[in-house]
């Protein structure tokens, strides 16, 4: 990981609150170009809210966000629209449009931003994106209701990748998947991020995912980002939540799984 890589997402002093309830109070975070950044935190610490704030679905009460060096604003101008097509988002349940087939779902952003693309090319793009997201070829013509949970997530990923984004947001991609499917999804995320040069902002609870694919991990606690770094770096801090998270029984199990894997590989 290049320490001096340019910053893809720069978050400064973000504050969010719902009524009296404070979610974020001065969140600072940098996502470097080309890295997979895992974001962890207890339930209700505002991981998803942070993601929604970055992609402009939630207006922060204070703070600034820059994406690829350009500030995010509420304006609906050309520059903001241009920024918008440089990221892809995969929501927790896939958030596929239920009245459209998987292929049509993938084509929605393409049609929206590039209305001049021919139908033949659209179909071809949808086809290879679907396969690239690891779905079987016959899934493209199916409706979301006909897919399993894991396939729906992959379809969501295919749609997130439709515009060839540089930046990918994944909200709990492995939640609700069986361990085999989860490992498969991790693998896919890593492969795609490498081959497409993606920067990935990944919200997760899954310790295995953190160990397997994340270059760095950001920890949300006490309304801010309390630490960012590789897992060994985080282990060196003495924040109680981080210690409880990574050194709890599950954290140790995931760590030892990685160690075993490494030993076998060596």
């Amino acid at each position: 990981m290049d320490l001096n890589a340019p910053i893809a997402v720069k978050i400064r002093g973000i504050c969010n609150h719902f009524g009296d309830q404070v979610i974020h109070d001065g969140v600072d975070l940098d996502v470097r170009n080309g890295e997979i950044l895992g974001v962890v935190g207890g339930s209700g610490t505002g991981k998803s809210v942070l993601m929604r704030t970055i992609i402009g679905l939630q207006r922060p009460s204070a703070g600034e966000i820059e994406i690829f060096g350009e500030p995010m604003t509420d304006e609906e101008n050309e520059a903001q629209l241009d920024l918008r097509r440089r990221w892809g988002v995969m929501f927790q349940g896939g958030a596929l449009f239920s009245t459209l087939t998987v292929a049509e779902n993938v084509q929605v952003p393409l049609r929206e931003f590039y209305p001049n693309l021919g139908q033949k090319l659209l179909d071809e793009i949808a086809a290879y994106k679907v396969v690239m997201a690891g779905l079987p070829a016959n899934a493209a013509a199916k409706y979301p209701s006909e897919l399993s949970g894991g396939m729906r997530k992959r379809a969501g990923l295919a749609r997130a990748l439709a515009l060839d984004p540089r930046l990918l947001f994944l909200d709990e991609p492995t939640a609700g998947l069986d361990p085999i499917a989860a490992a498969g999804f991790d693998e896919l995320t890593k492969d795609l991020s490498k081959s497409l040069g993606l920067t990935v902002f990944l919200i997760t609870h899954d310790l295995d995912t953190l160990h397997a694919i994340c270059d760095r991990v950001a920890v949300l606690a006490d309304h801010k980002v309390v630490a960012v770094g590789t897992i060994p770096e985080l282990l060196a801090t003495d924040h109680p939540w981080i210690q409880a998270y990574f050194n709890g029984p599950r954290g140790r199990a995931a760590q030892s799984a990685v160690d075993r894997h490494m030993a076998k590989g060596a």
């Binding site: 087939t101 693309l117 071809e124 016959n138 013509a141 060839d164």
Partner: protein, 372 residues
Amino acid sequence: MSPMASKAEFTEEQGAKGTTLRVSGRLTLSNLGDLPQRLDALDDPVAQIDISSVERTDTVGAWIIHQFSGRTGAQIVGASDEAKRLIALVSQADSDVRVRPEPVNPVVRVVTEVGDATVIAMRTLLGLVAFFGAILIASWDLIRNPRRLRINAIVHRFELVGVKALGIIGLMSFLIGIVIAQQGAVQLQQFGAETLTVNLVGRITTRELGVLMTAIMVAGRSGSAFAAQIGTMKLTEEIDAMRTIGVSPIEALVIPRMMAAVIMMPLLGFYATLVSIFGGGLFCWVSLEIPPITFVQRLQEVIPITDLWVGLIKAPVFGAIIALSGCFQGMQVEGNAEEVGLRTTSAVVQAIFLVIVLDAFFAVFFSQIGWI
């Protein structure tokens, strides 16, 4: 990023080995322009496709190159490392994918749909009867153990179904009373019989419209709510949780709603009738100059008491139908949140349909026994 980044272009060059296609500019989604169409239109044999002067490419650009080379057999030369990687990636993903569902013969489709609809209608009817049976059994159990009756839940339903509906049903009935009086008066005036407006308003609201319109309003207000509430509980597995704890969902959820609808419907229907008559009377007073005293006297003369019975006998039956289809459709919810919406719609449609069908039966029945 400069907005006018260099567009993707290509030129044809004749060389020793045949035609070489030289692609330049940015081969990315936003800079493609009409390049794909023009490439598709090329029919001449192409030996090589040179992409050494491409500034940047994304997977779509890589796909276009890959697809072109596959179609014409052209060799890809001069690819940068990034382009090579992307072309390798998309060629891995190149497989025979069917993008659209297989088209079905329209005749077959219509026949299938009719068949499916028939089967569903039959199943629904059967399910409704079975559900009604389950309610009867649960009611019998409750009659034997009246202490199990959930008084609090029932009273709460009374409030939701009855008290909270007073405003909207009152307003609706008041307006309907005025409309009937006004429309009736216009027609009856042609015969010089506008005083008969009193008969019209009095009898039609007591016999038919008071209860019928209330039933439609309750179906829209409470029937839909029953379906949505129970459907959501079904989705969140609350109903399964109840069953495992040993609480009968019919007893806990359906019976209180059923009782609320059955008991509140006659009260609401009677109230609606009164308010309609009030609205009609107001119109007669203001527009036809029939004073309220005369109006009430005439009402007493022209409305037989059986008219009131006709309305009040129908009301609880309608209430039962509304609660039955609301709860039944709610219990049928399975799978996803979309289903809740569909089932709620069906609950209202089914309830109103059944209410109107039954109303027709009642009309014939009461005429036959001489309550006209």
